[in-house]
Symmetry: C2
Subunit: 316 residues, 2 copies
Amino acid sequence: MKLDPRHLEILAAVVDNGGVTEAARAIGKSQPSLSRTITLLENRVDRPLFASNKRPLVPTEFCLQLAAEGRKILKANHAAGEIVSSYKSGRSGAVRLAGTPFFMDGVISGMIATFQTLHQDIRIDQSYCYPLDVFADLRNGVLDLGIIPIRASEVPDDMTFDQILRGRNVIACRAGHSLTRKSVVRLNDLTSYPWIAPPVDSPLYHDLRAGLEGIGVKHFKISFTGGSLSAVINVLSESDALTVLPYSVVFRMRPQNRLTALSIRIGDPERHLGILTLTNNRLEPAAKRLMNYITTEFKSLSAIIHHHEQNELWRK
Amino acid sequence: MKLDPRHLEILAAVVDNGGVTEAARAIGKSQPSLSRTITLLENRVDRPLFASNKRPLVPTEFCLQLAAEGRKILKANHAAGEIVSSYKSGRSGAVRLAGTPFFMDGVISGMIATFQTLHQDIRIDQSYCYPLDVFADLRNGVLDLGIIPIRASEVPDDMTFDQILRGRNVIACRAGHSLTRKSVVRLNDLTSYPWIAPPVDSPLYHDLRAGLEGIGVKHFKISFTGGSLSAVINVLSESDALTVLPYSVVFRMRPQNRLTALSIRIGDPERHLGILTLTNNRLEPAAKRLMNYITTEFKSLSAIIHHHEQNELWRK
DNA sequence: TTATTAATATAACCCAAAGTTATGAAGTTG
DNA sequence: CAACTTCATAACTTTGGGTTATATTAATAA
């Protein structure tokens, strides 16, 4: 005997409200509607649900048992509604984001941490990849947000790019490096130190080569390559090696006092950090929330960096 | 956000069966029907339930959460179905029956006890009343079965009477009463003992008066009246008093060896014990079951009584 | 009993949607 | 890329839930 779960819901409402009139008011339907549903259900189960000829409807034992099941259905259905609105409002959900490793580890992961203290029910799946992979993953739907440095002209037609930070790479070295004491850094200074290279397929690596060549540096020795940001930082801070890093990453590590940036800009000044999304793929509210959060965080980060530059770095 | 519980049921089925095709087979509907339900639900919740462009349908996190609720609904609904078929088959239910107190206590209650060991899920609401009340209670639906002694001509038009035992009242006294040793009981013998009268509004009381007057007894002293069967039995067995009881009641108490019946029939030979029901009121299967049980029990009781009469009582 | 009141049942209608079959489109697999 | 499987769409029918208006009926008061 297969029943309509809606009928059981209504039955529960009628029993719990002591009659069809009240129940109708309670669930926002008309009295005749409920009345007929009850009759229909009675026919289905081939048995009366309420004592006949009683005006404050008095449920039979049988009816009470069914109503109990109806109550369970009502409860589960309500829970489902809660889930939906929780996702709708972005209180729950899952966001899949990916980005270049050094940015992710150096800046984004910290932001994600604070974001998650605010939204425990939003799950974040973070992965690392370079622009070309981000394009592919966004397109086949395994990714919601991509955080990458890119030139405006490189943004594919089907994607939207929201810039969050002006791109700027710097040459980084350990705090207290002898180069930091020089007021002017010459090319010779750069080539005399070993270099740590980011992963070879990363934009940073490209910037390293192109940037150094751009300022006339042709030959330089690479002492270490690959690995994660923390590996690079470790090597960098324990040696006199140089590397190229996004300035924001260096800036964020300022409190640790392990590295510093030389006042030499390097890399493509047209490439900026931003969030890449599929234009036609309406974002989950949760993803939108995270995106907004990161955007505003970067706004204040930019402001602080700007302020800092005015007061300290360039005054040196 | 109010969802259709049927949609959640179907969602659960699809998730649990790994696709619409299998789910459709499982719940006995067409594949397009489920497919469209899913799309409809997706529109309602304004969010995809399955990853797009995947052929063995892969549910989203969100979908899984909703499906979990759907599973609860499915379960409750199934339980409701079980309740219905349990009532349908008469395995569960409630039976309200009433009858004259002495019959109920003396015969019926014992039968109910054994019936309930067979059907624990059938609740029995027993009460006591006399024919006129039984008529009324059957009519206003507070009673399913009435077990009363009645003449065929007295059965109301709207009721059905199924005889279960030929009526016969006897004069009862304690076992070992001096009257039992007399081969012939004369009127004088009857009037010289005190009488215990059943409740004044009972048929038995009427039988007592009418019966004694019928055989010429005009004056007799009543030493005790009212109370329940057990009170009457107690008084009867501790004294030399006489009373009128249904023979079946006396017979059933035979094993206790507390009372015995004199070989004098008394009362209305046209009035028989039977089960009274409303003709147009289809009985609950549970009630029908109890009715059948009582009927067959009485059949064997009659047979035993008959056998017993042939061999013992009337041979004295 | 009868009149009043409140609750429920019925009627007649409309429309959303569930069910169907037939068919098209899109992944998956060899 | 061809074959296969699985899902989506189209077009149509039918069920039944929603509505308002109205009739019944039970409880209550007079």
